[in-house]
């Protein structure tokens, strides 16, 4: 969130007049549920109620597994496999007030393509072989189209009461905040029950997160620092038609952390850490493989081009967790945000 308040001069009325319209409050916020990724730095910073945010992301993701399994999410990755995905995420977020608390409702539409080259040498686990593929064979599969869209509601519990008016924003100087975020994914993405690789999961899944933030220093553009921690758990319904079998997964536990810092009033950076563990699979009631354990470290750079437009990029790669896994992803994001009162103030100020 960025709040700009023009300073007041006290000498002449001619200087005063523009000030009646001078409070311009511009809010950018990101509220992106995870798609094989973290939510991102400053995702749970709250904006003025009524602020709309549209975001478009492009994420090229690479996963290489030697002797382990990875999650993307709900995807089961073979040992000795390489996965390349090009994912596009369109997001609409609206900031609002629920029970007098700052909140945000976010809808994500996800699409793109994913391709995997796998070695079925695991052999003994015939439960995971797609139709027509024998043990020991190498095979490639791909999918493109839309994944399961999801919707998330984040409501502040501590530290951020309503942000309805400019007055609320001017008075907002958070120190510690705690939110609750509930996400549900709707299983309408593209799914082929004969493929290992799909964009849709063919099952409901959801997530409960408790995003926590601690703000350092001055809550003013150019001076903001924050430490953010997002513990969460993904819970999956069963996929009753995974290669003709029933796939169940244990919960996936996740903890995401960011240390963010303003470099200038328009530019901030973040050090990002993500750790995920869990997701042990069962096929037709039989346990398959081990827990997935991924630990990534990355960074984010975020630049506000104007009051409405922001560009963001981030990179992460796994550096701890399972030694036999290599993941890397880049995020390129364009954000457009608008708030009617702010837009109207600008119009009035500029005589439109």
């Amino acid at each position: 969130m960025k709040t700009k308040v023009m300073d007041i001069k006290s000498i002449s009325r001619s200087k005063w007049l523009p000030l009646y319209f001078a409070i311009v409050t511009t809010i950018f916020s990101f509220n992106m549920p995870a798609v094989a990724q973290d939510d991102g730095a400053r995702s749970y910073w709250k904006g003025r109620s009524g602020t709309n945010v549209m975001s478009f992301q492009y994420l090229p993701i690479n996963i290489g597994a030697s002797d382990s399994k990875a999650f993307a999410p709900g995807q089961y990755i073979y040992p000795n496999s390489d996965v390349n995905a090009n994912v596009f995420v369109g997001t609409y977020s609206r900031h609002m007030t629920i029970f007098n608390r700052a909140s945000a409702l976010t809808v994500n539409v996800i699409g793109g393509s994913v391709g995997a080259t796998m070695n079925a040498s695991i052999g003994s686990d015939s439960l995971l072989l797609p139709p027509g593929i024998g043990p020991g064979a190498s095979f490639s599969q791909s999918s493109n189209g839309f994944a399961d869209p999801n919707i998330q509601l984040a409501v502040n519990l501590i530290g951020t009461s309503k942000l309805k008016s400019t007055v609320d924003l001017l008075n907002y100087e958070p120190k510690v905040t705690l939110d609750i975020a509930l996400l549900v994914a709707v299983p309408i993405g593209k799914y082929d029950n004969e493929k290992m690789v799909n964009l849709g999961l063919n099952r409901w899944y959801g997530r409960i997160a408790l995003p926590f933030k601690y703000h350092f220093g001055v809550f003013s553009p150019g001076y903001m620092w924050s430490f953010e921690l997002v513990p969460s758990v993904y819970i999956f319904a069963e996929n009753s038609d995974f290669l003709g079998r029933k796939l169940e997964n244990e919960p996936l536990w996740s903890i995401e952390s960011h240390l963010t810092c303003d470099f200038t009033t328009n530019f901030f950076g973040s050090l990002d850490v993500l750790y995920q563990n869990g997701f042990k699979s069962k096929i037709d009631g039989t346990e398959v493989g081990e827990n997935i354990e991924i630990g990534t470290i990355g960074f984010t750079l975020n630049y506000s081009v104007s009051d409405n437009i922001t560009l963001r990029t981030s990179y992460n790669s796994n550096v701890f967790g399972d030694d036999n896994l290599e993941t890397s992803s880049i995020r390129l994001q364009f954000v457009y945000a608008w708030n009617k009162p702010s837009q109207n103030a600008k119009k009035l100020q500029h005589g439109h």
Binding site: V5, S10, A22, I23, K164, T166
Partner: protein, 598 residues
């Protein structure tokens, strides 16, 4: 021989016992002389203290007012160095070298006697006289009376000092100066330059620390002390330690008009002003606060919040000195005088200091105090002023503010307390007092004569009048109905005699000509009685001419206010029936917020 020896012994005995008697008498006299603690706030308004009707929490000074006496007709000069020159010498600023502020001398004043811009050699400070007469003399805080080695506090009578030599700057340890010509504010300690301020430096705290340190280190010899605590709070930049930043959060969201009304009501309750007092209208170029959006009121109120925190912080620090004096058993023997140096600051000094892009002032501002966002102001590296509207609140019920010889520029709170001060808790509204009176008062309390020469040079006599008889309850005022006071600064001028005052102010806040007011009926200076009482106006103009001649006043051919008429819009009176759309003030603030939130 034996008789001779006996006589000699007797004589010797007599001499010894007489000497002992004399020594004991001197020591007894020494013990009786009171300590003097002179406390000056910088740019603090007349009605900011709780005991003067302000909503700012100032328990220490409020308590001091219950032990001592508050005065409602105490005058200073419109700006700080000018007041300080009189405060320390007891004579007129035009005599003492501060005919104008050194930084703002007009071309025709340059090099003229009385316009040296520093304390000149025609005067002696009260510190020098007390030091030579058995007092310890300490100073901590703002000097603003000269930078050269022979002009600094150490050279002008203070045996110990920790001084900011210039007019103002950062209150924190980054120590930037208001003026770009000397980017880092110069401090001295015991006459030597301070190379580096402590990391945790904050003006009010460190000036208090130093005062306590000086008293502690000098107290073993039993000599009384004169301590001059020249706080730089709440002079801009409005800054306060982080923990105090939000002490008044949202206290001023209502806006200046409502706050001023409430102040005025409290002042009436306390008896500071008469009921139904004719207070000054909001200056015509300031908007009524009810016409501003709630958000703008919050943004502007934040500045007043920080100002209020600075005042309370200073009050708290003064409390530390009092506690210390009580601890060492000296409080009961200490005369405390508290004043502000001039009216509250309503000018946009920050803009003057920062100048235009491309100027050196602007470069200095870029390097020192560029940050001024809503949540930043009040912290290190910021420079906020609270502006004319809040300054008018601070100066309730008076007109205008610092820099002008209207009552809003020259009226100050005054509290005097200590041994011999009669009438604890009383309010004296009769005495017309002036900052020049403080030197003769202190000297009389300390049993020290003001000399006609000092260190081989002639010095100007004090012009002020001692308050001692008044403090002891023998009179209500040191001035009679025929006594009068005069002021001149930047070409603005005034004379007060009894209840009558004439003032001539630059346009558009004045007319550029003499205006006549009766302050008993009209302390807000709203009704010019020039046409009704031309005789009185003429009498006072004659006094002005006397003042001008006696003190060698040279009206500057340039003035910081010479462009005020062009900078401000024409003064258009606000009529009850214009503009025709009225009544918004009737909407309670909470209701208004609710409406705005819909």
């Amino acid at each position: 021989m034996k008789t001779k020896a006996s006589l000699l012994l007797l004589l010797l005995g007599l001499i010894v016992s007489t000497n002992l008697f004399i020594c004991n008498d001197v020591m007894a006299q020494e013990a009786k002389r009171p300590n003097i603690l002179l406390i000056v706030a910088d740019d603090m308004g007349y009605s900011d203290l709780g005991c003067y009707g302000g909503e700012i929490n100032t328990p220490v000074l409020d308590n001091l007012s219950t032990e001592g006496v508050r005065y409602t007709n105490f005058y200073v000069s419109p700006t700080c160095s000018v007041t300080r020159s009189m405060l320390l010498t007891g004579t007129d600023n035009h005599v003492a070298g501060l005919g104008n502020m050194g930084e703002l001398n007009a071309p025709n004043q340059m090099g003229q006697p009385g316009y040296e811009g520093v304390l000149n050699d025609d005067v002696v400070t009260v510190a020098s006289l007390l030091k030579d007469n058995g007092y310890h003399t300490y100073m901590a805080g703002k000097w603003h009376l000269g930078l050269a080695q022979d002009e600094i506090p150490h050279a002008r009578g203070f045996e110990r000092d920790f001084s900011l030599l210039v007019g103002g700057g950062s209150h924190f340890n980054n120590g930037w100066n208001l003026e770009w010509q000397i980017p880092n504010a110069p401090y001295t300690e015991d006459g030597k330059p301070v190379e580096k301020l402590p990391k945790d430096f904050y003006s009010s705290k460190n000036y208090t620390d130093k005062t306590i340190q000086f008293i502690e280190e000098g107290r073993n010899d039993g000599k009384p002390f004169f301590a001059y605590m020249a706080y730089t709070a709440p002079h801009g930049p409005l800054q306060v330690p982080n923990k105090w930043l939000r002490r008044y959060k949202n206290h001023y969201d209502e806006g200046w008009d409502g706050i001023r009304e409430k102040r005025l009501a409290r002042m009436e309750e306390l008896g500071i002003v008469d009921e139904g007092v004719n207070s000054a209208d909001r200056l015509y170029f300031l908007p009524r606060s009810s016409g501003l959006t709630p958000a703008l009121r919050v943004a502007l109120g934040r500045k007043m919040e920080i100002y209020a925190s600075m005042v309370e912080y200073m009050d708290d620090q003064i409390g530390r000195v009092f506690d210390y004096l009580k601890e060492i058993g000296e409080y009961e023997n200490t005369i405390v005088i508290f004043i502000s140096d001039n009216g509250a600051e309503g000018n946009d000094l920050r803009s003057m200091v920062a100048g235009q892009p491309g100027s050196m002032g602007f470069l200095h501002g870029m390097n020192s105090f560029a940050e001024n966002s809503h949540n930043s102001i009040g912290r290190q590296g910021t420079y906020a002023e609270y502006g004319a509207a809040w300054a008018q609140v601070s100066m309730t019920p008076f007109r205008i503010y610092k820099g002008w010889t209207a009552e809003g520029g020259i009226r100050s709170p005054l509290i005097v307390s200590g041994p011999g001060v009669q009438g604890s808790g009383e309010l004296n509204k009769d005495a017309v007092l002036h900052v020049k009176d403080i030197v003769p008062t202190i000297l009389e309390l300390a049993s020290v004569e003001h000399p006609s020469s000092f260190n081989g040079r002639e010095v100007a006599p004090v012009q002020g009048k001692s308050w001692v008889e008044m403090l002891e309850g023998e009179t209500q005022s040191p001035r009679g109905p025929n006594d009068w006071l005069g002021w001149e600064l930047f070409g603005n001028r005034a004379i007060r005699q009894g209840d009558w005052k004439i003032s001539s102010l630059y346009q558009p806040l004045g007319t550029g000509d003499w205006q006549l007011y009766n302050l008993a009926e009209d302390p807000g200076e709203q009704n010019d009685l020039s046409d009704k009482r031309p005789d009185k106006r003429k009498e006072l103009i004659a006094l002005w001419e006397e003042y001008e001649k006696t003190n060698g006043v040279i009206i500057g051919n340039r003035s910081p206010f010479e462009r005020a008429k062009k900078a401000l819009p024409d003064p258009v009176p606000e009529y009850d029936n214009y503009p025709p759309l009225r009544g918004i003030e009737a909407v309670p603030y909470e209701k208004l917020l609710e409406m705005m939130n819909k």
